[in-house]
Amino acid sequence: MADNPTSWSMRVIVGLLFLFLLAPVLLVFPISFSGDDVLAFPPNSWSLRWYEELVGNSVLMSAFLTSIGLAVVVTALSLIIAVPASYAIVRLKVTGSEFLFNLFTAPLLLPTIVLGLAILIIFASMGLLATFTGLVIGHLVITLPYALRVLSVSLGNLNLACEEAASTLGARPLVVFLRITLPMMASGIVAATALCFLVSFDEVVITLFLTGPRITTLPVELFHHVESQADPLVASASVLLILMTLAVVVTVDRTMGLTKAFIK
């Protein structure tokens, strides 16, 4: 916008606000290399000791593995459940499909603290608390709405001509779906996969209600750690979390371009 140059004062304000926005995340990186016993910035000395502590901390490491396993299972199940559901809603368009779509995405409208409590109370009577199954169902409640939304949009944007041509040429509906529709939905499926994985991997509040001494996830363990003490261990674990997220985002970007996957 050459003829409407932004004034310098505006640029300084925007720069400071960006600093405010990014400071807490950026700060985690230098703190993770601290050599101090307690949380302080800037650190008095530098070392890799908190990374060593992290790797040597069996509770955090097993929580990390649980988080990964949980996210993988939840993501796979989300796709297996949401792909047929999005097909039924967008393509078969049975009566009340709009109502069903709203019902199935409604969990996202509830605050997680309320949803977490509600699930806790029901799961307690079903014996699902602090079990892997319980965590999987709890996470599915919030990953399925994302998956359904992304996949429905992706399915709705497809050109019907290819599918119609295949049908006309005699392909059965299932063959049309597997050979034509599913491959054409690839970008939506990749986006849904990444989204479900990240949502499950980062979930804290609902998980907090469903975990216990027997089973716990990395974000929940970090929450308890920050609650009880202030040391740089959480910083090195946070770097791990951020790198995980970055890896997922970069993978999606390499596969298809981030804008294509998310903004469509």
Partner: protein
């Protein structure tokens, strides 16, 4: 909320048992929805009318004692007022901190705009625990922020384990939502209108006040609604930065559910949060109407 894609013309399969196939395809998602959402939420609503017995037990008889007790207890009335006030404060702070960024992003173009937008979204992909931890480091007693304030010759205020810290932390955590909402609402803002106003002799301030601000009101309303409901139901940041000294609805729900094991009271507080959500939504649609009517 409707998705535009749902309205596309649909090729109807020949089979007459379309509804049958659809039922099979929808069964798994319906099952998860029933077990993990419908049943728990209905049960929660019911539980707010159950009696809390000593030792964490729950009476089955219908009672409005939780509700009447809540509304007569000075502590909970203060908690409610405090939660709403703090959330409104956070919403205003978030709006003030986000508006310049959103306006700048709206006017930026090309790679620079894409880069900055990614910077705005990136905190959203970072766990609230991590960002709150960053704020604890920043606002600690001998921390960088306190040092800067001291270097400027002021007495640094206490910023941790009180409402100040919670407001600062949540403002930052909610900024991406506000910026994205504002940008979504900035579509009506055409630089040509601003230029016209300036050509006709309006000062930059007058242009902003009379042209830019009114055109961006729908985005502001949306962002404020979103931030208010997220602030009043947020738990991680108030719990960690409040250090047990800041009492808000969400932290009280957690404490009642996990520490005190008074589930009926926790359920009642949860319903209260949902009622506040409903009221916020009603205010929002009223505000939108007023904006539309000018």
């Amino acid at each position: 909320m409707t998705v535009a894609a749902l309205d596309l013309p649909i090729a109807a399969p020949k089979s007459s048992s379309r509804a049958g196939i659809a039922t099979v395809l929808l069964l798994p998602i319906a099952l998860v929805n029933a077990i993990g959402f419908l049943l728990p939420v209905l049960n929660l609503a019911k539980m707010s009318f159950n009696e809390a017995l000593a030792g964490g037990g729950i009476g089955e008889a219908f009672t409005t004692a939780n509700w009447t007790g809540l509304l007569q207890d000075q502590f909970y009335l203060e908690l409610l007022v405090n939660s709403v006030t703090v959330s409104l404060g956070i919403t205003i702070a978030t709006l003030l901190a986000s508006y310049p960024i959103a306006l700048y992003l709206h006017r930026a173009s090309g790679m620079w705009r894409t880069f900055l937008t990614v910077l705005v979204i990136s905190p959203l992909m970072t766990s609230a625990v991590v960002r709150t931890y960053g704020w604890i480091a920043l606002l600690a007693e001998q921390g960088p922020v306190a040092n800067v304030i001291a270097a400027m010759g002021f007495q640094p205020p206490r910023m941790m384990f009180n409402t100040t810290g919670v407001v600062i932390g949540l403002t930052e955590i909610l900024m991406p939502y506000m910026i994205l909402s504002l940008m979504a609402g900035f579509g009506r803002l055409d630089p040509k209108i601003e230029e016209a106003a300036q050509t006709l002799g309006a000062t930059p301030f007058k242009t902003f006040w009379r042209i830019v601000l009114p055109l961006t009101l729908p985005g502001i309303a949306l962002g404020c609604l979103l931030c208010f409901v997220l602030a009043i139901s947020s738990f991680i940041t108030p719990k960690l930065m409040g250090g047990g000294r800041v009492f808000l609805l969400a932290t009280e729900i957690y404490d009642q559910a996990i520490v005190t094991l008074n589930w009926p009271l926790a359920a009642t507080l949860s319903m209260l949060v949902l009622i506040i959500f409903g009221l916020a939504l009603a205010v929002y649609s009223r505000v939108l109407q007023m904006i539309d009517q000018g």
